[in-house]
Symmetry: C2
Subunit: 378 residues, 2 copies
């Protein structure tokens, strides 16, 4: 039911609280959230069904469901921090971000939300960047800003901070891995304030969430998701910037890389991107020329590659134990396509999807991109 991402209608305060409760509940990520809505049609019914689904999926104890009081407290705290929650499908939700298949159902925003409606390009790179890399990132961001683009990045040290600084006056968006009240690195709190003057700081995490290592790769999909293309400057091998580049490719976004000396390990990853076909960038014009035709196309919210489609009849019955067992037997730690599971299990698709939801809410299933799922090791 992808149409729920493009309704352009605002939620009521009550609905927004329900959305917040659902996405904050245990074992509910953006993909599960979407699957639940597709299954139950609305957030309230999904919330009500959570305990039973988790129990059927084999959870020993019911998963933690965010209470209404907790959601109200977060809303109030957000308000006093000038943070606004915008739901997928609402007018202020960035259209390009809405197109990725694990788009966050709710984003917490601080700043000038109008920036989110403008053409956006991301700049990412090494935290321990060279002086030349930092200088170039700041210049490129300034020139891209002057060309009318909003610059997205991750508020990290090095290249990210330089990209934000270069585009402070023209508009820049920082997607952060923690909550708004837990800016990381802490010394960038003032930079975040400056960004919010003409741009936006964006988080999908609870306000006080302190970012853990695993939150950064997850955040990277937001940086690329916000943008039509990602420019990588000075990325070492196995660096977070390369994760952002990979996510950009998965999301169908352009990937650019700035050439650097082969003698500098900080350029190894970005140079490898060039070898893999990323477009070389030495000046803003390279990026503008490549993205202009993309910005000129009207943004069409496409169906996800593997939609969990609502046109399918809802199961008239709950899955039986034998069906559940058969599906679990087909699953393992290696990701497998939902389509394959339907084919191999010879179960009705609606039953398969319900069992997967149950397993997920029991904390036993992981969803990957491209309609793939795997069983968690435990």
């Amino acid at each position: 039911m992808s149409h729920w991402v493009s309704t352009g209608v605002c939620l009521t305060d009550d609905e927004r609280l329900d959305w917040l409760r659902l996405i904050r509940s245990q074992n509910v990520g953006p993909r599960t959230f979407r699957a639940l809505i597709d299954h139950y049609g609305n957030v309230r019914d999904a919330l009500a069904a959570l305990p039973q689904l988790a129990r059927r999926g084999g959870a020993s104890a019911p998963g933690r469901i965010w209470t209404r009081a907790e959601a109200e407290r977060e809303m109030a705290a957000a308000q006093s921090a000038d943070v606004t929650f915008v739901a997928l499908g609402e007018p202020d939700y960035p259209l390009r971000l809405a197109m990725i298949d694990d788009a966050p159902p709710l984003i917490a925003l601080r700043g000038e939300l109008a920036a989110l409606a403008r053409p956006t390009v991301a700049i990412v790179g090494a935290r321990n960047a060279s002086a030349a890399g930092i200088k170039f990132a700041e210049r490129l961001a300034r020139e891209l800003g002057e060309a009318g683009l909003v610059v997205a990045s991750g508020l990290a040290r090095g290249i990210d901070a330089a990209a934000h600084r270069g585009s402070l006056t023209t508009g820049t968006v920082a997607a952060i891995a923690g909550g708004h009240n837990s800016i990381y690195p802490p010394e960038h709190a003032a930079l975040a304030d400056a960004i919010a003057e003409n741009g936006v700081v964006l988080s999908e995490m609870p306000l006080d969430h302190e970012p853990r290592a695993r939150d950064f790769p997850r955040r990277n999909r937001l940086i690329s998701g916000l943008a039509a293309g990602v420019v990588v400057i000075e990325a070492a091998q196995r660096s977070g910037s390369l994760i952002t580049a990979r996510m950009a490719l998965e999301q169908g976004r352009e990937v650019f890389a700035v050439p650097g000396s082969p003698l500098d390990p900080r350029c190894e990853g970005s140079n490898n991107l060039l070898k893999q076909g990323a477009a070389p960038v030495t000046e803003a014009g390279d990026v503008v020329a490549a993205l202009q035709p993309i910005f000129e196309q009207p943004l069409q919210l496409r169906e996800p590659d593997h939609p969990i489609t609502p046109s399918e009849p809802k199961p008239s019955r709950e899955p039986g134990d034998a069906e559940r067992d058969r599906l679990v037997a087909l699953l393992g730690p290696t990701p497998v396509g939902i389509d394959d599971l339907i084919r191999l299990s010879r179960l009705p698709p609606a039953i398969v999807r319900t069992v997967l939801l149950e397993l997920e809410l029991a904390g036993r299933l992981e969803r990957h991109g491209g309609g793939q799922v795997s069983l968690m090791c435990r």
Copy 2:
């Protein structure tokens, strides 16, 4: 008559003297040389016809023809300088170089000629290279040498010299713009001697020829012609290295470029090559992987794109004045295809080719790549 480039038969001493006389004669370049042989079948007859052809082409004075005595003196001087003349089609002539359509009919070689039969890659770049560029060039050349490749370059300061130094022991070829007795830059005379130990110094110019500015672009076609691919390191805009890259493309060779900082003007040209599709190189493996399949293919001497074919009957008569005038009227400073001239003039192809030869030997015609000719301004 391309078969004369691949006979694999050695010239007699007399024939070699005739070849030297013809290529050293006024207004005879590699393309005219080929056209003359195609027309007259052998060098001696071509030499004999030169004065008459030039006169008919409108030369006020007969073009200077290298005398037999001059050729003998050059041969003797070459011998005492350990320089050998090898003709196109002889076994020692490098096969890849023989494939370009303006291959020099005679090359003057000093060193270990066996190096010319081995798989070869060229490395070229800035004379005012950075320390990092020079270090990288030397390392890349060493690793390519260790991988079994001969490294060709141009004996210039900076990148070229580093490439030769890195591959001195494994084998390197220097194509020079002047003659063997006029090494440029002079301080590289010792490097040239060292190159000749395991590799070759190659020139198409008279032994004492001091290189002029226009000889360097001409020489660059030899560097790319010797190699299956050209690696460009630190090339500024409008640099000689970019000319070598362009010639490599025209010759159907691979072009590689080493990425560099966009803040360094010395990398502007090489980075632009990347934007135009050159393959990025940060280590020898990148080059080896790309060229290995090419080296594994047997070298096939192909017909030039616009061969002046000998299968055509020789003209049974000389061109008449009216025919000559008609063709000259069709020519101008803008290069035009010989095929177009034949079509537009409605003259027999053999007559057209004879008139073109006459004009050329009179110093009035310039031959370009792709079977194009233009009238010289004067």
